[in-house]
Amino acid sequence: MQISRDEAAQALSDINDARSRVDKLHGYGDAAPFLILWGMVWLVANSTTQFAPALADMAWLVGILTGTTLTIVLASVQAKRRGARDTNQAGQSAQVAIRMGVSQGVVLAFFVAMVTIVWPLDARQFNALISLFWACTYMGVGVWIGMRLFWIGAITAVAILFGFFNIEHYYSLWMGVAGGGSLIAGGLWLRRV
């Protein structure tokens, strides 16, 4: 069997393409449960804010604590699975995880500092700002992981801005259904090949 240099180059390019498809599949699979989880937190907490304003603070507190706890659990389960997947790169993965954690810390510190500078914000502005922050984060991460995540972030951001500027009385409900709903739908979309 004879293989030309062109055929060899094409075969190596196909191999690289296959590798990036699997990486994208893993990236989407890892991101999906986080989107569904936080979409549900948005949906429940915003809906509570709309229909039972007296319980709003409690709903957000419970939602954020539950979301954060489950995020940590999910992230550590995924890190273990990733370690098993790339046993030869386990050390590298740990370093990457630390760098990613520090990067996230820097972005969060910026967010806290920015909110402190522009304070006071009303509940509506604060909700839009923090929701936009996460939607833009998904867009930024999507550039690296895969464009599906970018579009989920973009659609969520547009929904947030549309609601903020156009919806008066049912703003929280809009944020829950359109914002949270787009995250849940996006998470389900990521799970499809």
Partner: protein, 96 residues
């Protein structure tokens, strides 16, 4: 320099083994996922998976997830070695 692996080099089989090689050693991929990634028909996939299985390069596991039948595929240790050798051959051909 060793020659190319004739089983692996065929275009669809090369894509199948490339994808399976990118998984962890204990990781299996569902047939439907693999088929979607390759963009091949059921018949085409079955033909190439059979050829790879006959060569001892892949292992096909059939079981049930609840009541739903499930077919999963993984590269064997022999398959991984053959794939690595074939990639080394392709690289050597380009560099040589």
């Amino acid at each position: 320099m060793e020659g190319p692996d004739e089983v692996i080099h065929q275009s669809t089989r090369l894509r199948i083994t490339s994808i399976l090689n990118a998984l962890g050693s204990a990781e299996l991929m569902e047939f439907s996922t693999l088929k979607a990634l390759i963009s091949a028909s059921d018949g085409n996939m079955a033909t190439h998976l059979t050829a790879l299985e006959k060569a001892g390069y892949i292992e096909v596991t059939k079981d049930f997830l609840g009541k739903k039948p499930r077919t999963r595929v993984a590269l064997t240790a022999d398959g991984r070695r053959a794939f690595t050798r074939h990639v080394a051959y392709l690289k050597a051909l380009l560099e040589g």
